[in-house]
């Protein structure tokens, strides 16, 4: 098999933590053509090496962390990483991405990806540089939060801030909290579906990748430069430059107005203090400093210091929209400075921000309604907006203390264990993951996406640049179940392609045409648009075949009672999704070419995508 020469380093790094063994493995061209890279490449290793019946915390599970064919090239958004493993929340295949610089640095060190297998007897971290790879002792880092870990490793190895990218787990990951994530480069996170818990189960504290100096060879460097410029222009123009200039900092008030901001665990859709959280206001009020990733000119990501209120002087990162919402509207907390503190606390403890919000909000609602008592909550008065109690319960979860040990298993587990009325307050999906930080009763496409996604997070996105090539309904009525099913099914693969390129959505906007030009200019594979689209859909279907063997059934593809309940107020009060659910799912399955009873891709779907061998393996 021919090793891939362009757009790739031609190899991946293998680390067996059980044996303490490190080796290189060649990457061939046929694999890239079939699985593209990033998420797709991770899925390839997962399905080949990890039996679907393996438990997420079994040493046989692998943890893939990798870049894509555009990684390390000067195209905005392409320094990100994708993590693939069997996730702790769904126990199925998962993929989750983080921005930052690790993807680029890794390729400059000469690797497309790192694949970790086995489990170490003692805590370790992996150090990759131009000069080689080492497994280093991490015993002194145990108990350190994700920011401290980043600082300590850079200090120990003698690297300056931008000279190394460190992604680590915090106490939550060490203690196998089911929604622990992997955090690095000052608060970027790959955090869905418990990938941090998988890392913890392997006793791997961190990945430390130096800024390598090897160039990634490409077939057409001039074209890559041009695509870089075009991508910047696209990002500047998309949505009137809102994301380019403001990141997600302006989303919260907009979301509230449209009825898709989650407020107090879906008990209302009104958040009167929304304007306090407007990005224009917050960035002007607090000290704010742009902190972009490699090759990116956008003002998406900022460092922030609180300048007023109870957390005056606290410095960390500016929360993303989902973080703002998780620690404000969702838990009835109305001070932006406090939100900055709590969002950073969650990052430092190393938990997924949305699940943390769902679980705290659930406790608060249950406490208010008397379903959970102060005693059950270890003496914490979980009233809406009680910051001291929130802080303590988050720590109890991260260290699995008292009731925190139950909550550490995630919303679904805790709610089902409690049962009764409390179960009806919880927001989750039947598979075990919970949604991103929105009220999806006002974003039907994303509710469907969250429920059917193979990854335990977002798998497709209705908002695509060049959406006509994905045959999106236009104009789109977001509350028309037929169009929702069509939008979700038709765009399947678009987000997956971005996750295989490992390109940040805030720069790519899933512009598949531009990505096609980019992958061809980088690799010389001369793929066609149809081939690329098919590759995106192929990876979705391969994950599904795997997950069906890992325990997924169609009846698990369902929102929890609260998740699909009728909004009690706000603009979407009279738009319940539940009555349309069955029809919507039937249509979605049909459009996807899946069997409604078994959930399995139909023979013609399997044939069209050229995955007969994989279907045979996971019969």
């Amino acid at each position: 098999m021919a090793t891939i020469q362009y757009g790739s380093t031609g190899k991946v790094l293998r680390v067996d933590l059980t044996k303490g063994k490190i080796w290189d493995e060649a990457l061939d061209e046929a694999t890239i053509r079939r699985f593209l890279g990033g998420t797709g490449l991770g899925v390839k290793y997962l399905i080949e090496e990890v039996d679907p019946r393996t438990n997420w915390n079994d040493p046989q599970n692998i943890l893939f962390i990798g870049s894509g064919p555009l990684g390390g090239l000067r195209i905005p958004g392409c320094a990100s990483i994708s993590v693939v493993t069997k996730g702790a929340q769904t126990n199925g295949a998962t993929s989750t991405q983080a921005n930052g610089n690790m993807g680029a640095y890794l390729k400059w060190c000469g690797y497309d990806a790192i694949i970790v297998s086995g489990a170490s007897p003692t805590w370790k971290y992996i150090y990759v540089s131009d000069n080689g790879v080492e497994l280093k002792d991490a015993s002194k880092l145990v108990g350190k939060d994700t920011w401290e870990t980043e600082d300590l490793i850079k200090k120990e190895l003698g690297f300056q801030e931008r000279g190394m990218s460190v992604f680590s787990i915090g106490p939550a990951g060490e203690n196998l909290v089911k929604f622990a994530g992997i955090f690095g480069d000052r608060g970027h996170s790959a955090s869905h579906n418990g990938v941090g818990a998988v890392m913890g189960s392997k006793k791997l504290k961190a990945f430390a990748v130096a800024r390598g100096t090897k160039k990634v060879p490409v077939i057409d460097a001039e074209k890559i430069s041009e695509i870089g410029r075009q991508t910047t222009e696209l990002a500047k123009a998309f949505g009137g430059g809102n994301v380019f200039n403001w990141g997600t900092s302006r989303v919260l008030p907009t979301a509230e107005a449209a009825g898709w901001l989650h407020v107090k665990n879906y008990t209302t859709n009104i958040f009167p203090k929304k304007d306090l959280f407007m990005g224009d206001r917050v960035r002007a009020l607090f000290k704010s400093q742009n902190y972009p990733c490699y090759a990116c000119a956008s003002h998406h990501y900022e460092l922030m210091e609180v300048t007023e209120g109870p957390y005056k002087g606290f410095a960390g990162k500016e929360p993303e929209y989902e973080q703002w919402a998780s620690v404000s509207s969702q838990i009835g907390q109305e001070d932006p400075g406090t939100a900055v503190y709590l969002a950073n606390l969650i990052d430092r403890l190393g938990m997924e921000t949305n699940e943390a919000g769902w679980i705290v909000g659930w406790c608060m609602e249950c406490y208010e309604k008397g379903f959970l008592t102060k005693k059950e909550l270890d003496g914490l008065e979980m009233t809406w907006g009680n910051v001291a109690a929130v802080e303590q319960i988050l720590k109890n979860i991260a260290y699995r203390k008292g009731y925190g040990n139950t909550l550490a298993e995630g919303v679904k587990f805790a709610a089902e264990k409690k049962g009764g009325e409390a179960l009806n307050c919880a927001i989750f999906t039947g598979k075990g993951n919970s949604p991103r930080g929105h009220d999806h009763r006002g974003r039907w496409v994303e509710m469907l996406d969250t429920v059917v996604s193979d990854t335990g997070t977002l798998q497709t996105q209705m908002l695509v640049s060049n959406s006509e090539i994905w045959n999106m309904p236009k104009p789109m009525d977001p509350f028309n179940w037929e169009q929702v099913a069509q939008a979700e099914a038709n765009s399947t693969g678009s987000m997956t392609i971005s996750d295989c390129m490992v390109q940040c959505w805030f720069t790519s906007f899933n512009d598949t045409k531009l990505q096609l030009e980019a992958i061809n200019a980088a690799t010389g594979l001369n793929m066609t648009l149809d081939e690329l689209k098919k590759a995106g859909r192929r990876i979705v279907n391969v994950m599904r075949l795997y997950n069906l063997k890992a325990g997924l059934t169609p009846d698990k593809e369902k929102p929890s009672p609260r998740y699909w309940s009728k909004p009690v107020d706000g603009p979407n009060k009279d738009k319940p999704i539940q009555p349309h659910w069955e029809n919507m799912m039937n249509l979605y399955y049909k459009l996807m070419g899946w069997d409604r009873k078994t959930g399995r891709p139909l023979p013609e779907t399997i044939k069209e995508l050229g995955i007969e061998d994989i279907a045979e393996k996971f019969k």
Binding site: Q160, K215, Y291, P292, Y294, A295, A297
Partner: protein, 239 residues
Amino acid sequence: MRIDPNVCIACEACVPYCPVGAIKMKDVAEIDQEMCVDCGVCRNSKVCPVDCIIFEVQPYPRDLRVTFSNPRTGHKATGIAGRGTEEMKTNDVTGRFKRGMVGLGLEFGRPGVSTTFRDLEKMSMALAKHGVEFEDKNPVTFLMVDKKTGKLKDEVLDQRVLSAIIECVLPIGKLKDVLATMKEVSKQIDTVFSVDCICKAEPDGSYPVKKILAEAGITPYINGKQNVGLGRPLAKEDK
């Protein structure tokens, strides 16, 4: 100026700030050291999100770039900041430009263009042949090996600066020939330059060299650049 390649994130934020277009994008931003005039605009703009633009004090002759290009730096030789000359602004007190004489200021380069001393030397040597007297309190004069020939020190010739000014004074009678020489030399020069003609106004307020300029095909833009009222004419008039 230099960009630390281990820190730069290639966001391109600095690129439009460079007055001479010396910042080129490779895998990270790189500053073309020949083109860069060390003016510091990229760094002083504070636009770099990772603060990776570095200025290191340079040894002679490279340090000339800063002195001529960064308006916040003073010339060691003259003690005057910016391009390092007072021109006619203090003539009230200094009396540098006397009746019957014309001062010339040849401003080489501009932001966006820049110049090398090699180009300046072509002009200064041509002017010297007419016996002009170069202004002592001028940084270009300071770089001359010999004021009689207008020759600059060899080691400075390849240094590039944002702009630099040749200043000299000559009898009005020589102006016509000097203008012809300037026009000729201008063909050999790879930058732009403008010419200041500095004279004391006649008692009736008229401009003594207007006619000579008109005959040479030059339309002057006349302005009174003297800082009127800032000093008493202590200089002894026409002595």
